[in-house]
Each structure stands twice: as C-alpha cells, then as structure tokens.
Symmetry: C2
Subunit: 331 residues, 2 copies
C-alpha cells in the first residue's frame, strides 16, 4: 500500500461552504485510499458537517480555524486581522510538514498572499503566479498569469514559461508542451516594448513557438498561453461567461423558431455536449506556481465534484514532485 | 431629392479584391439614390470590373491608383514607397473635398497611418483610435481601442470615452450610451496604476458606469468598453474565433450522438440563428475616430454585403456630422 498523503482542505472557502468542500472531501476520501484530510474551519461547524456527511473519522483531522476570510476582503488586511483563518492555518500545516498540500475555493488574493508569506518562494523564483486552464479544441490548456501579477517584465514571462511547461506536461498530460506569447500579431516585431523584449528572451527556449493571436486561443495553437495578469483575468472571466451567454442566445432562437418540446430537448442535449469543453468543474483548482509548497485555489463557485478534482490534482502535484521539477528548471 | 453624397471606395483592399469591393459598391449604388462613388485602383482593372458588374457609369468616377498595398506590409514603408496607392489617394480625395468619406477593407495599419498623415487629427485629439463592434446579448456594442494604440494614458481613455459615446449614440443607435472601463474587478481600487488614474479621470463623466469585468462584455453591461489596443486586439480576434470553434465543437457532438440528417439540419439551423449576433458582416466597417475626415476600415475578409454596409455606415457618419459632434465634445 502507498504511504499516506495528507491534504489540508479549507471548509469555509468559496461561495458554497461548508457543504461543497465537505461533500468534495468525502468523494476524495472514497476515491483515494491513501488520502488523509486535514479540515480547517470553526471546529463546531466542521465537526458537525463531518458527522452529517458521514466522513471516515479515522482519516480526518479537524483543525480549529475560527476566523473566516470573506470572498471580497482585501487580502493583506484580512491576513493581518485574521491570523487564525483557514487560509493562514492551512498554509501553516503545509509549512510545518503536517500536510503536503492545501486546497481552498476561497479568496484568491488572500490565498496567494498567505501562500507567499507563509510558504515563501521557491529558490530562484522572482514572482509566484497562478494560471487557469482554458478550454480549446484540443482540451484544456494553460493560461498564465490569470490575475496574480497585473504587470510583468520579460524575466517574469521567462520563468512563467518554464513553470507553465512543467505544469502542462506533468499535471495536464500534454506531451512536449508548446509555449506561446499572447500578442497582437504573429510577427516578431509586433507588440509593446515589454512584449518585444519578452519575445527576444523567450525565443531562446526550445518550447517557445512564438506569438499567439486572440483567434489562436480557442483553437489551442499553444499549450501554454503567456500574458500578464490583467489580460489573463479578463480572458478567464470572458471565457467563463461564454456558456451562459450562448445558452441565452440559444434559448432566444429556439423561441423564435417555435420548436416543439422534443425538438427543444434534442437541441439542448447537443448543445450541452458542445459546451462540455468549457466545464471547469473537471479541473477543480490550480496551484500557485513558484511557491515553496503546494497551495491550491479553486473557483469560488466550486461544486463538490470540483472540490474533489482539486484535491485529486493537489495529490497529483505532490506525486509528480512539481516543485522539485520547477526548481531544477530554474536553477 | 437629397444632394449627392460622394464616397471613395478602395477597390484593391482586402482579401477578396476586386470582386467584393465592386459587388458591394453596386449594392450601395442600388440602395442609395444620392450616392456617387469614387473607385480607386489600377484604372484598367477597375474599369473592367465596373463594366463586368454593370455599375451605373453616370454615378461612378474611376481614379487611377496603380500602387497596391498588401495586407501584411509595414504601414510606414508601404506609404513611403507607394505614394499612388488606393489608400493614399482615397484619403487624398477626402482631404481635397472630392469625397466626403473613404472606405477600405485593406491594411488597417496603413489605413490608420495614411488617414492621420493625410487628413490630420481633429482639433483637441491626442490620438485617433479605431474601435470594433462587439457582439453582446443586447446587440453590437463598441470596444475601443481595437488595436491602434497598444498602450494608453489616462487622458487618452478620456477622449476615447467621449468619442465612443458619440459613435454609439449616433451611429449605433444606442440611447444614452454607458461607458465602462475593462478591469480585473469592479471596485474602484482595482487594476494597474494607469487604470487607477484612468478610473479617477473617467468618474467625472456622466456616461461612465465604472469598471467592467471580462464576464460583463458578452452580457452587454456597458455600451462602450474601454481598453488599450493590445487588449482590444486580443478580444476582437478572440471574439471572431468563437463561431468557428463552436461550429467545430457542435459538429463533434452531432457525430458523437449520431444524429440523423433531419435532426442535424434542425440543430444546425438553430445554431446558425444563435450565432447571428456574432455576424460582423452586418456592420461592415468603422471610421478612425479623431481623424479630420471620415476614413473607414472594414474586415479584410469583407463580403459584398459587408462592403455595402461599410459604405452605408460611411454615409451615415457624414449625415450625422460625426466629426462636428466629436469636436464639440472635446473642445
């Protein structure tokens, strides 16, 4: 039997706590026999939920974290005023070696700040980053940075390229990932001064395939799309809005064409299948890359299945020794 | 009868010249009885096409423009080495008052450079800009800047807000247009230093509705979306790629579900209707805003219908006195 793997889970993070984190934790325990969970939140609340959902007490440790950080709280103020939050204590468990990873669907900014402050940066990393998986015709691919660093210099893009390639290869199963730089044209001389300088740095990397235009994202022309966090955040939220908007447009056209119920059912069925590549639930969460420990954030609206997938992904990051690989690539 | 309106048309611009510009010109002549067209390109070629398509010679003036600027030529080099291009001479006709507007589906960069160099800027304008219409649940809305200015300062955003509001109201038929700033969050304190400063400037404008996130574009939360040209270009091309990518995904799921031909026809029919809001053909082209004259650019792939709509839109810009309105708002 494989040795135990310890993952800390924020029970009071996200829009649907404590139910979804607990339900996701239960799925993870059922699916991974070597998993031990450290559940963080106000002890009464967590214990009650553990019993209500019937989690296996022998594989669960409850850690009292009385402070709850809200989804919209300013990160630094929240961390200062709430030293006993699930976010602070969860990263602390990783730092102290009690857990090998921490996962949360909570406040992304606070999670990033806490992971950087508590775990620190990996040797050689200028700035940690957070990516997002992005739907493409070839399946999910990686978009870096997704909002952690609004402005970047050339050397940051270089590090993100290396970390992104490793993540795409070892956690997303992409063979020889291709890294592209989001830009306004394919030609080397396109873009702002920063982007031109970045291009000249990146072209030294064997994984770099050049500039990628807006039209090349959904087609999956690269496996890792590099951009600053301002752009990444806009694209991330834009992408998330596509299924809902199209559902609305589809509903309008079905009305206009006065489809009968059987026809509507057929169209909706095909459409749902069509939008499956946009279903982020299958991914769950992403680790902050460049942090000295596995600390992972998921979508605020995470379902139990998304939490389950985030825990599984965290285990996977530990198993493939993500951070050791990043260290080797950077140093 | 209304007095004649003279529009110059680039016959050798775009991916499908001369056929599409000429076919679009013909549609425009048939639809607007007060329209006179000035057709630019190599004289032999243009004359032959005019006759082949049976355009009304009494309402057409052919201007010999032997130089052809390619779609991918560097703008400044092209303008220097090709003084007798349709792009240079077309803007010249506007400058000299022989035409009230010039339209082209050609090289956007060269068109912008030529319009700025030949027509100059409107009094009080720091930088001319080009927008793009963007599909939303409420219909097409305006995204500014779409690629002309990769980096912007706060004062540029201010002018773009004013010019964009006027365009949305008078050319797109939006009542009391709302202007939003694309940003990584709704709160006033979000974004880069430039964006924070821009927000503080913009909030003085009655039309400003605050920060707009990536998820709020397709839902049409604002009528004018402000961003720098780097972001605008990425979003423009991303948006254009959506129909094609979804068509591919739809085709995959129809195969997977093994629909019979009748079912496929139904689904495709509804889907086509669903994607209609993304059909740029209905818009045709946009004027460079802030230039002293109406000079308009359309998509390189413009169909005859798109060219026709671009000509109609150019006439509309003249009729509503777009530039006089911009001048009043800025000075």
């Amino acid at each position: 039997m494989a040795s135990s793997l310890h993952v800390a889970v924020d029970v009071v993070g996200g829009d649907h706590y404590p139910t979804n984190p607990i339900a996701g934790a239960k799925l993870a325990l059922e699916s991974h026999s070597n998993l031990v969970l450290h559940l963080l939140g106000p002890e009464d609340l967590v214990s009650r939920e553990v019993d209500a959902h019937g989690l296996d007490r022998s594989r669960v440790v409850v850690h009292h974290a009385p402070d709850i950080v809200g989804m919209d709280e300013a990160p630094s103020a929240a961390l200062k005023s709430k030293p006993n939050s699930s976010i602070a204590l969860g990263n602390g468990l990783v730092k102290q070696g009690h857990a090998q990873a921490f996962v949360s669907a909570g406040n992304t900014g606070a999670l990033l700040a806490a992971s950087m402050f508590i775990l620190g940066k990996l040797d050689g990393v200028s700035r940690p980053t957070i990516g997002t998986v992005y739907p493409t015709l070839k399946g999910f691919r990686l978009l870096l940075d997704a909002g952690a660093n609004l402005e970047l210099r050339a050397e940051h893009y270089m590090q993100f390229a290396k970390m992104g390639r490793i993540y795409a290869e070892h956690l997303m199963g992409v063979d020889s990932p291709k890294v592209g730089l989001l830009n306004v044209g394919e030609e080397a001389e396109k873009g702002t001064e920063t982007i031109l300088e970045t291009y000249n740095h990146l072209k030294e990397l064997p994984e770099f395939v050049g500039n990628i235009e807006g039209r090349d994202i959904l087609t999956g022309k690269a496996d890792v799309f590099l951009c600053n966090g301002f752009i990444g955040n806009l694209l991330l939220k834009f992408g998330e809005s596509i299924p809902e908007v199209l559902t609305q447009l589809l509903s309008n056209s079905m009305k206009e064409k006065a489809l009968d119920p059987a026809q509507q059912a057929l169209v909706v069925d095909v459409f749902k299948e069509t939008m499956q590549p946009f279903n982020y639930e299958n991914v769950g969460g992403m680790p902050f890359l460049g942090v000295n420990g596995i600390s992972m954030v998921g979508h605020g609206g995470s379902s139990p299945k998304a939490i389950y997938n985030m825990i599984s992904n965290a285990m996977h990051c530990v198993e493939v020794e993500l951070n050791q690989r990043i260290l080797s690539s950077l140093n």
